[in-house]
Amino acid sequence: MEEDQTVHCMYLESLADKTVIDDYVLKALMEGTFLEVEQSGVTGNHFVQDYSFSSARPEELLQQAVDALLAGQCVLADSAMDRIRLIHAVSLNHRQIEEPKSESTVRGPHEGFTENIDMNVGLIRKRLRNPRLRFEKLSIGDQTRTTVMLAYLDSVAPTFLVREARQRLLAIRTGSVLESAYIEEYIQDQIWSPFPTMTNTEKPDVVTAHLLEGKVAVLVDGTPSALLAPMTFFEFFSSPEDYYQRADIATFIRWIRLFSFFIAVFVPSMYVAVTTFHQELLPTQLLINISAQREGVPLPSLTEVLLMETVFEIIREAGLRMPRAIGQALSIVGAIVLGQAAVEAGLISAAIVIVVAITGIANFVVPTYSFGISQRLIRFSFVLLAGLMGLFGILCGLLFLIAHLISLKSFGVPYLAPAVPVSFSDWKDIFVRVPRPWMNAGSLPRFMQRLKGKK
C-alpha cells in the first residue's frame, strides 16, 4: 500500500472485546499485514465477513453494519478496498459459574447456567459429546432480538416434537424477550391452566438428562433458566438428586413428595369441611378438644383458614425480598408473634396454626418452584368449595381438577401419563425409582414413544 488509506474501525466498547481488537485488528492494520489474514474467501467463515459496497444497497449495508455493531462485532469500513468487513470480536462477559440458589443438591454437580448463551451451550456440549446434539439458533423479539437456541438430540427426540417446538417458537410475535418465562407463556399448551406444562432449570446436568430422554430444551440469552418440554405431572416430582442417591431412599422421598402435594392442596379444605360440615368424622376426643379451643374465637372456621393462609402468603412474599440481616427477626415475628400470640389473644384457634404451618411446609417439598405456585392457587379454590359445600364441594372440585388434568397435553403428551393412559412399564420411574441396572436406560418412556409414531 503506497498511499494513505482511511479505514474506519467501529465497535461498541461495551460489547466488543477491546483486547482482541487492539491485538489483532489495529496492529494488523498498522503493520500493514492485513492482507495476509484475509480469509474471507472461505465460505462459512464467521470470524471475518466481507461485504463489498456494490453487493447490496446502501440501506441494507447500513442495516447489516448496525446489526453487527449491536451484536458486539467490529466493523471495518474500507473505502479503498470497496468493502466493509465484519470481525467477530465479541467479549464474553459473564458471571462466574456457580451453584444455582434455588436448585441446590447434596450430591451431584454444582454447576449452573450463566446469562451468556454460548457459555451455556458449552456446558451442555461438554456433558453430551454426541455429534447428533443439535442447537438451532433463532432470534426472537423485535426490540431485543434475543438469541434463542432450540436444543435436541437428533437420534432420540421424536420428529413431531422438534417440529412442533420449532413452529411454536417461530410463531412468536413480540417486542421483547428478557427471560425464558416470556417464551414459555407463548409456546405452552394452555394459557388458563394453573399447572405448568414446561419446566425450567438452571442446571446443565438436568438439561442433559432430559435431552437424553428425547425432550427439547430452549435456551435464552440473558437468563440462566432453560426451558424443557414436554413435561408430565409426575415428572415434576422427580429431582435430579433422585438419580444421584440410592434407589431405596429415592423411592421413599418420591412418595413423600407426592404425599406432600396432597397435603399442601387438601389439608386446609379438609379441615374446613370436617370441622364445619362433617364433624362426625373426627374422633370424639379430638372433637371435644377442638370445640373447646374454638369457644372464645370470634371467626368462623372458613374465615380463619382464609385469613391465616393469606397472612402466610404475605410472610412468604416478604421473606423473599427481605435483606438477610433482618431475615432472622422476621422468622421470629412470623412464627412466634403471628402464630402463638394470636392464639393466646383469642383471635384464632390453635389448630389453624398447625394446619397452615403443615400446608406451608409441604408446599416447598416439590422440587420445581413453578409447580408450588399452582398448588397455592388450587388450595384457595378448594378451601372456598369446602366452605360452601363440605366434602361434596371438595368432590366436585376434585372431579373438575381431574378432568382438567386428563385433558391437558404438553406438546402432544398427555399430562397425566403414565397413570392415564395406563402404562405400567413406566411406573418404574414414577412411583418408585428402580435401581439403575433395571432401568432399561436405552429406551424412551412409553409416552415419548407414542410421540414418535405421530406425524
Partner: protein
C-alpha cells in the same frame, strides 16, 4: 395446534375416532349400571327377593345382555354411526330426527331421575338443609366441563376414578363383616326367583335397559370392540350388584334392609376403623357419589353428542347451558315424593325403558332389513 380446553367448547365432537379402549368402555358400562342402583333399587330388591335377592341381578343381567344384542346387531349395520344418526339413516330425515329428539328427551328425563335421586340421598343423610338445586348445578357444571374436553376425557376420567371407588367401598364392606351372620340367608334358595322377577319387572328396566345410552359411545371405541365390551360390562355390573346384595343381606338381614331407605349408607355408618375413626360414612357416601357422577356424565355426553350430531352445531357452550337447565328442571319436577316414584316405577318402568331400548331399535332394525332387501332386489 395449541390444544386449549376452552376451545373444546367451541369445536364439535369428534366422530368415529377409535380413541376409547375396550377396557375403558367396559369400566364405563359397569359404573353406569351401578350408578344410582346402589341408592334406589337395592332396598326394593331385598324387599322382594328376601334372602335370595342376590340371585335377581343374574336374571336381570341376562335379560339386559339379550337386549344389548339387538343394539349390537343394529350397530353392525351402521358401523361408525351413533344412536343419533342411525334413525336418520334408517328412516329418513324427518322421521329419524323425530326419533332422535325422542331419545334426547329420554336422556334428559333419565338425568332428571339420577339427579333427583342424588339430592334425595344427600338431603336424607348427610346434608339435610341444602336445597337440591345446588347439587344439580354443581354436578351438571362439572359434567358439562368434562364433556367439553372430549369423549376421551370422559372415558379416561372414569378409568382414573374407578380404583378410588372400588377399593374403599369393598374395604369398608369387608370391615363391616364383623357383623356377618350366615343365618340371615336361611332358608336359602327357596323363593321362586324367576316369578319374583316377572312380578317386579321394574328391575328388568332399570338399570339394564338404560345402558342404551352407552350406544352413543359406540363410534369411538377402538376396532369394533364395542359389542363384547358392552356385554362384559353388563355381566360384570350384574355380578357386582349380586355381590353387593349378598353382602347387604349378610350384614343387615332381610328385615332391617328392607325397612331402611338407604341400606348401603346404614351399613357404612355402622363401620368403625379400630376405635379411633368411628363415623366414616360421610367419606364413603361422597366416594359413592362418584358413581352417580359417572352416570350423569354419560347422560350429559349422550344428550350433547346427540344434539351435536343431529344438528351439526358449531358453538357448543349454549347447548351445554341449555342441557344443564333442562336436566336441572327435570330433576326438580320429575316426582313429588319417593313414594310416588316407587309406585310409578313398579308399574311403568319396564314398559317405558323397553320402549326406548327394544321397541324403537327393533323398528329401526326391521326398517334397515327391509331397506337392504329392497336395495338388493333393485340391484338384481
Amino acid at each position: 395446534m395449541f390444544n386449549s380446553g376452552v376451545s373444546g367448547a367451541f369445536t364439535s365432537c369428534e366422530e368415529g375416532t377409535g380413541i376409547i379402549s375396550r377396557f375403558q368402555f367396559f369400566l364405563l358400562a359397569v359404573n353406569f349400571i351401578l350408578g344410582t342402583t346402589l341408592f334406589v333399587q337395592i332396598q326394593i330388591l331385598i324387599e322382594q327377593g328376601k334372602q335370595d335377592a342376590w340371585l335377581m341381578p343374574w336374571w336381570a343381567g341376562a335379560f339386559g345382555i339379550a337386549a344389548s344384542l339387538v343394539w349390537i346387531v343394529l350397530h353392525r349395520h351402521y358401523p361408525g354411526k351413533s344412536l343419533a344418526q342411525i334413525p336418520i339413516l334408517a328412516l329418513g330425515r324427518p322421521l329419524g330426527m323425530a326419533i332422535s329428539m325422542l331419545y334426547f328427551l329420554h336422556f334428559c328425563i333419565l338425568a332428571g331421575w339420577v339427579l333427583r335421586n342424588l339430592s334425595d340421598f344427600l338431603n336424607g343423610t348427610i346434608m339435610p338443609q341444602t336445597p337440591g338445586v345446588v347439587f344439580y348445578v354443581m354436578f351438571l357444571f362439572v359434567a358439562a366441563f368434562t364433556v367439553a374436553q372430549g369423549v376421551e376425557t370422559v372415558a379416561r376420567l372414569n378409568q382414573f376414578v374407578t380404583p378410588f371407588l372400588f377399593f374403599p367401598f369393598w374395604f369398608v364392606l369387608l370391615l363391616a363383616s364383623k357383623d356377618w351372620s350366615w343365618d340371615r340367608f336361611q332358608p336359602a334358595l327357596h323363593t321362586d326367583i324367576w316369578g319374583t322377577i316377572l312380578h317386579n319387572h321394574s328391575f328388568l328396566g332399570f338399570p339394564f335397559m338404560e345402558t342404551l345410552t352407552l350406544m352413543m359411545f359406540f363410534p369411538h371405541i377402538q376396532k369394533d370392540g364395542a359389542g363384547r365390551s358392552l356385554i362384559l360390562g353388563i355381566a360384570a355390573g350384574a355380578v357386582s350388584l349380586s355381590l353387593i346384595l349378598y353382602m347387604l343381606i349378610g350384614l343387615l338381614g332381610v328385615e332391617r334392609a328392607s325397612k331402611l331407605t338407604y341400606p348401603v349408607y346404614t351399613v357404612v355408618q355402622e363401620v368403625s376403623l379400630g376405635e379411633v375413626v368411628e363415623n366414616i360414612h360421610s367419606i364413603i357416601s361422597v366416594v359413592l357419589l362418584i358413581l352417580i357422577f359417572i352416570k350423569t356424565l354419560v347422560l350429559v355426553y349422550g344428550a350433547h353428542a346427540l344434539l351435536n350430531q343431529v344438528f351439526r352445531t358449531e358453538t357448543n357452550w349454549p347447548f351445554y347451558l341449555a342441557i344443564s337447565v333442562l336436566m336441572a328442571a327435570s330433576a326438580e319436577s320429575i316426582y313429588v315424593n319417593p313414594i310416588q316414584n316407587n309406585e310409578w316405577s313398579s308399574h311403568y318402568t319396564f314398559v317405558y325403558d323397553t320402549f326406548f331400548a327394544l321397541v324403537i331399535p327393533g323398528v329401526l332394525l326391521a326398517a334397515t332389513r327391509v331397506k337392504n332387501a329392497v336395495q338388493k332386489g333393485r340391484k338384481r
